[in-house]
Amino acid sequence: MTAKTISLTLKVWRQGRGEKKGCFKTYAARNISTDMSFLEMLDVVNEELTKKGEEPIAFDHDCREGICGMCGAMVNGRAHGHQKETTLCQLHMRHFSDGETIVVEPWRARAFKVVKDLVVDRSPLDQLIQAGGYISVNTGGAPDGNAIPIPKKTAEAAFEAAVCIGCGACVAACPNASAMLFVGAKVSHLALLPQGRPEAARRVQTMIRRMTELGFGNCSNEAECEAECPKGISIVAIARLNRELMKAEFL
């Protein structure tokens, strides 16, 4: 089987490290195999740029199999591109057509500063976790794994939220640059399980306040996040977050 190849025009956001401003630069991506992922296509472009003595395009990546949450960029105005429930590293070039022009931009939010080109600083998501997205485990003997029975339905609901890889696409896609889906996923994951209950009230209270302090916007139920989340996390997680906050503040 001979692999199909396509050629594309890329408009990529370039911004030097420490620079306040950037601009779009146009590049040609020639003879790209449709079996390649979007990141592999960028690798090819970067190789050419390096050969020419130009600075390659900086982008974040790690696992390249859709599980680590490091990659991500806006591709033609869509977070991680237009494929549903797909990270940028898992977006394949067969979803693009020959001769297409593709605009590639970094995540945009006040909380996410551009580090370089397509790389943004997503440490505010880590700071949100530090604000309460954990359970405190005291020292002592390892507890028996099955000591606390958890109904299968509950375990599954918690798992559906726990699949969040912290990529930040929800923030990038949200018209308000809100991190509600991310916070909702963390709060849901932990509040559903008995181990997470003792700290549930404090967790939601500190995380939601931290979200605003870090410069994220407020949710207005646009539901763009759930449409772009590569892990298919639903805004049901946000409804649960709202319930948890109401419980914590008023009950």
């Binding site: 979200m211 994220f216 916007g217 407020n218 763009e224 946000i238 109401m246 008023f250």
Partner: protein, 213 residues
């Protein structure tokens, strides 16, 4: 009491304020629509409805101040959210496409809200803050609807309300934490039905006055 105001100043607290006041306005719209259906009964029925309504006295005053209080909260919180949310993304995208979550309603909430606010001011000036003694309220209605520009303003406001409610209705349930795949489609459907009912119910009044009555 400090904890109380503090809770409502959080990102979710502000949403709750929007949701609860919005629910109040949905109920008001429904009652207002039911009352206005008496227009279709002709001047006699409509005037008797208005007289009966005003005979409620203190109850009406409570409702009016309640609505005013809700409006102050809804508008000021909405404005604050609008400003904060704009500030959350100082540099926008060169290209941005919707992924399928956004609707016309959700994308235009602040703007339809502003149109509704302007119309409410006009509406109160026309019906509430004028001396109704020289003519009956039905005459006020027919006079207004004989002016084409007023009909256009009114129709624009009705459309704005319908679009606003299209997003607001399901959204308030989501904010109050009432979202489950089992019944969310039903709430979504109810929201669309409700906004169509509002659009049809209020929107048909000038047609009735102009062509049928």
């Amino acid at each position: 009491m400090n904890w109380f105001f503090e809770a409502f100043s959080t990102a979710i607290g502000k949403k709750l304020l929007m949701a609860v006041t919005g629910l109040g306005f949905c109920l008001f719209l429904l009652i207002h629509l039911i009352g206005n259906l008496t227009v279709y009964g002709g001047p006699g029925v409509f005037i008797s409805y208005v007289t009966h309504l005003h005979a409620l006295g203190p109850l009406i005053a409570v409702a009016e101040y309640g609505l005013l209080f809700f409006a102050v909260i809804h508008v000021s919180t909405g404005l604050l959210l609008f400003i904060q949310n704009r500030r959350a993304r100082p540099i926008g995208y060169a290209v941005k496409r919707n992924a399928g979550g956004r609707t016309i309603g959700s994308a235009t909430m602040p703007y339809t809200g502003l149109i509704i606010l302007c119309f409410i001011v006009i509406h109160l000036l026309n019906f509430k803050l004028i001396d109704q003694t020289p003519q009956t309220v039905f005459n006020t209605l027919t006079n207004l609807f004989s002016v084409l520009s007023y009909i256009l303003v009114y129709t624009a406001a009705v459309i704005a309300v319908a679009i606003h409610v299209r997003h607001g209705f399901w959204s308030l349930f989501q904010t109050l934490g009432v979202n489950h795949p089992k019944y969310m489609p039903f709430i979504q459907g109810m929201g669309i039905m409700f906004s169509l009912l509002i659009a049809g119910g209020f929107g048909f009044i000038p047609v009735y006055i102009g062509f049928i009555a």
